[in-house]
Amino acid sequence: MLLELNHIYKWVKSGGRRVFLLNDLSLKIDEGEFLSLMGPSGSGKSTLLNVISMLDAFEEGEYYFDSEAVHDLSSKRKTGIFNENIGFIFQAYHLLDDLTVYENIETPLLYKKIKSSERKALVADMLDRFNIVGKKDLFPHQLSGGQQQLVGIARALIIKPKLILADEPTGNLNSAQSDDIMGLFKKLNQEGVTIIQATHSESNAGYGTRIVNLLDGSINKN
């Protein structure tokens, strides 16, 4: 098992009342799964992904990641686990505007203090794999949305994460681009990467191995 959430509650206070963003949510995810989180807008998909990534905290419940009790960990350790194991892919890509494609992909390696020669090799591999060698010196604004998301995925994969979290990765793309990305995810999953994606689209969800439906911060058993 890769991770386990037991009775997670997350709320915010509004006018003295608790507004639950996650409400008694329990979920187990095995290594090698390709999970699709579905649900209407506002159902808590992003919130759940943030909690899983440890970027966001929760109020109550237990969370085990790789058998470490996340709910007891210091924020420093959580950041450490996140940096080692998780790649995050955003709907709005969030590439660094001032960096080229190459530099965007290289950045996570810089923070891991990987040697220059090794970095070069890894980034070159990645560019190759996504067929964007010709684009490596372009800046994000010179790319189409689909290409930008490709770079976003390459950047997330460069640290060889165990787990990929993707928050509506194709939300800004047309259906052809969308299918490409999903095909890619499927391939990655077959290579052994665990993937959790949040999505609105039935067809995207179909690429996954399991579908979980969210409603108002809880898992909808129907």
């Binding site: 995050f88 955003f90 969030h94 590439l95 660094l96 001032d98 923070y111 891991k112 203090k113």
Partner: protein
């Protein structure tokens, strides 16, 4: 990683080109002035470093009952002190006695000459470049030169043992060369002679008694000396020997280290205001960076969040930001070093050089200044990077990534206080500059009690090689001048306004026995007439009635009051202690400002001296008919150039000499003005940057407002109103401070203006005009933008 930080930093700086440029300009100009101010302060404070044990050296200050004070003390006091005082280890006189002419291989030199006891080097253990300090002044006919003078006479060789001919007759052996001395030093040395050489001089001998004070003395004290004890010993010696004890209130022991500031009190003001100005400018620059950096941080929250997702630590983000600012700061330091060496330092020398001497920058000696500025650079970088970024790197990723900053409060209290402080400083400087400028204008244009226009002044004490030839040419010149239709009046005198000696003597009324200490000068019969100083009692000198041997005297009103006389009928005055019958007082002139207006008009006496005696006068003054100055100037210059003399003839105009008295204070005005301009300029740059940010942030709001029908001026007001209010508050803070400090300073002028409201009004107007202009320029650009474009941009 470091390389990467640099790359990112340079890209960021390049991306915000306008802002970086604004910062670079502000920083470079600001730091170069900080560097200049610090360097001059450093040069000043280290100028006496080369004098060993200077904390054990003291001099004596005579304080008179009337509040005046001077460094000179009765001549025999030194020997008595050295002999009797338990506290004194060694002592020396140091005084001038005319600058001696030195001849070497046919060339003549005249340099600042001081006479000192053979023990001089026991008091001041100055390092000698050549020669032995122990013996240097022991021989009567020896001479010690400063390095500069030695190079002028001998070039680069070691001159010890060479002989100079002094005053055409003396064979002086060079016994030492003193290592280079800073121009800011307490010493104005050139040529140093043992005072034993003056022993044969009857005039000198006649002065070295208890009733004459013409030489300061310097004493080296024993370790842990008791100053009170020494002062008592001085006091006893005075009481025992000095017969004029009634006028002296006290003789105080003063530390040598404080001598420079005591000698020119303005120095203290210059140094403190330099430090204050450096601090102010630095503060203003740092505030700009802090405020602008805080503003840029708002647009960086998203990038920060993304980088954190990619694995960046907070520290790494802060380091990157430090590097970015460091590049800016240190590029500016390089540029400012360049500005300092090529513009500021030469300017500084132009301004204060004539008074204090030229200073130069030498890396090997002045490296502490470089280290200082680098330290300032590092600290500034840390300050302006760490503070603004600390808050922002702490924003949780999930918030930052959405660009939602609701929990980062737009807390403007700090920013606004800084802006108010910046502008308070700027407005303070502007007010000071305006008030000082008004004071200088007042002093320059005040009615001085004499007519300064159309008067030519020739400096005629030129050390003529053949005085007889010179005298006959001079007589011919006087005839030419007197017969010229363009010359209204000609005179010769020992002094002219702006150039009166400090030769005070105590005179007494032999009848009433009242004593008055006053200045004395010699003048011919037409000197006071040429200046058009009104006579209020008695008459002017008259060459037919007055004889120089009788010493007829004309005193000023201040002297009349000091003697307590109603009329001058039958009045005489004589040197105190002398048994002669004294000088007849023939007239009283209205008080005229023979010194600058920083000083009150003190008692003064002019004593009649024959016009024609060339060697007895220092100045020739000619009142010329307006418009004919050049012609007469030509006659004077060509005559004196045709006379063989050691000094070169100098020609000036009295009006210029009078204005020239204010050079130093005008130098201060210049420094204050430059500081004021810098302060307001750099502060405005900061505001320009800030309003650019809010304009950018509010592009959409402006667009919407315009669509809803807001006018351009409404939008300009919307954008700039807050800043204008801040500047307004700053004026209110600056005025009382300016009023207080300037009142304090103006009190030190004997004649001063009163501070008026319009001066502050003008300062406020200048500050507000400049800021409105800066803000307006930027605001109008935003307000004029097509709302359709601005709305699309988001």
């Amino acid at each position: 990683m470091l390389k990467n930080h640099f790359k990112i930093s340079i890209r960021n700086l390049w991306k915000n080109k306008t802002l970086s440029l604004l910062n670079l300009i502000g920083l470079s100009i600001g730091i170069s002035s900080v560097l200049t101010l610090l360097f001059s302060v450093y040069a000043y404070y280290t100028a006496d470093e080369y004098i060993p044990e200077k904390d054990k050296i003291v001099y004596l200050k005579t304080i008179l009952k009337d509040g005046n004070n001077y460094r000179e003390v009765p001549y025999p006091l030194l020997d008595q002190l050295v002999e009797n005082s338990t506290e004194v280890v060694a002592g020396t006189h140091m005084h001038g006695w005319g600058n001696i002419w030195l001849e070497f291989e046919g060339r003549d030199f005249q340099k600042e000459t001081s006479y000192a006891n053979p023990e001089f080097f026991e008091v001041f253990e100055l390092p000698l470049k050549y020669g032995d300090a122990k013996t240097a002044l022991k021989e009567k006919y020896s001479v010690v030169l400063t390095n500069k003078v030695s190079q002028q006479i001998f070039g680069d060789i070691n001159p010890v043992g060479k002989t100079l001919i002094g005053a055409d007759t003396l064979n002086l052996k060079v016994t030492g060369v003193i290592e280079p001395i800073s121009p800011y030093s307490s010493f104005r040395l050139g040529v140093l002679l043992p005072n034993t050489i003056l022993e044969d001089n009857p005039i000198f001998k006649a002065q070295t008694n208890w009733s004459n004070s013409f030489s300061p003395i310097f004493l080296k004290l024993r370790a842990n000396a008791d100053i009170t004890k020494l002062e008592n010993q001085v006091d006893q010696l005075l009481k025992a020997n000095y017969d004029d004890i009634a006028t002296i209130a006290d003789i105080k022991v003063m530390s040598f280290e404080a001598m420079r500031t005591n000698a020119i009190p303005v120095v203290d003001i210059i140094i403190t205001s330099s430090i204050a100005a450096a601090f102010f400018i630095l503060f203003i620059i740092l505030v700009n960076l802090l405020n602008l950096n805080t503003s840029t941080m708002f647009s960086r929250t998203k990038t920060i969040a993304v980088r954190k997702v990619l694995g960046s630590t907070k520290r790494s983000l802060i380091i990157q930001y430090c590097i970015e600012n460091g590049i800016l700061v240190f590029t500016s330091i390089l540029l400012s070093g360049f500005l300092f060496l090529s513009i500021n330092l030469p300017r500084l020398n132009d301004t204060f050089g004539p008074e204090f001497g030229q200073i130069s920058f030498d890396f090997l000696e002045d490296y502490p200044v470089v280290i200082g500025i680098i330290l300032i650079g590092i600290l500034s970088t840390l300050l302006v990077s760490v503070f603004p970024s600390l808050r922002f790197v702490k924003i949780p990723v999930t918030m930052g990534i959405k660009g939602k900053l609701q929990h980062i409060k737009h807390n403007f209290i700090w920013r606004n206080s800084f802006i108010i402080l910046q502008f308070s400083i700027a407005i303070l400087c502007i007010s000071i500059a305006i008030i000082l400028n008004t004071q200088i204008g007042y002093m320059k244009n005040a009615d001085l009690g004499f007519q300064r226009e159309n008067i030519l002044v020739g400096h005629i004490d030129l050390d003529y090689k053949n005085i007889d030839v010179a005298q006959s040419k001079f007589n011919a010149l006087l005839n030419t001048l007197e017969s010229s239709p363009y010359v209204k009046s000609v005179s010769t005198s020992q002094s002219i306004p702006s150039d009166y000696y400090f030769n005070y003597s105590t005179y007494s009324d032999p009848v009433q026995n009242t004593d008055v200490r006053m200045r004395r000068s010699y003048a011919d019969d037409s000197y006071l007439k040429t200046l058009e100083v009104p006579i209020i009692k008695g008459r002017h000198f008259d060459r037919n009635l007055d004889k120089a041997d009788d010493h007829p005297a004309i005193i000023n009103e201040a002297a009349l009051k000091a003697f307590g006389w109603e009329s001058i009928e039958g009045k005489r005055m004589k040197f105190k202690g002398n048994e002669e019958s004294g000088y007849p007082i023939v007239g009283v002139v209205k008080d005229f400002h023979y010194q600058d207006l920083q000083n009150a008009v003190e008692p003064l006496v002019h004593i009649f001296r024959d016009r024609k005696r060339l060697e007895a006068h220092r100045f020739l003054t000619v009142r010329v008919q307006e418009g004919h100055e050049a012609a007469i100037e030509n006659i004077l210059t060509s005559t004196f150039n045709s006379i063989d003399s050691r000094k070169t003839y100098v020609q000036s105009r009295l009006a210029d000499k009078v204005s020239g008295q204010y050079l130093l204070i005008e130098g201060i005005l210049q420094t204050v003005s430059i500081t004021a301009i810098l302060a307001i300029f750099i502060s405005s740059l900061g505001l320009f940057g800030l309003i650019s940010f809010s304009a950018k942030r509010k592009v959409k709001e402006i667009g919407v407002r315009k669509v809803l029908g807001s006018s351009v001026s409404n939008i300009v007001i919307l954008l700039s109103k807050d800043y204008i209010i801040l500047v307004g508050i700053a004026t209110l803070i600056a005025f009382p401070i300016a009023w207080y400090t300037m009142n304090l300073w103006l009190d030190s002028f004997a004649y001063s203006i009163t501070i008026k409201w319009w001066m502050f009004g003008l300062a406020a107007f200048i500050a507000l005009a400049i800021t409105s202009l800066t803000l307006g320029l930027r605001a109008i650009r935003s307000a004029m933008a097509n709302p359709v474009d601005s709305l699309k941009a988001e």
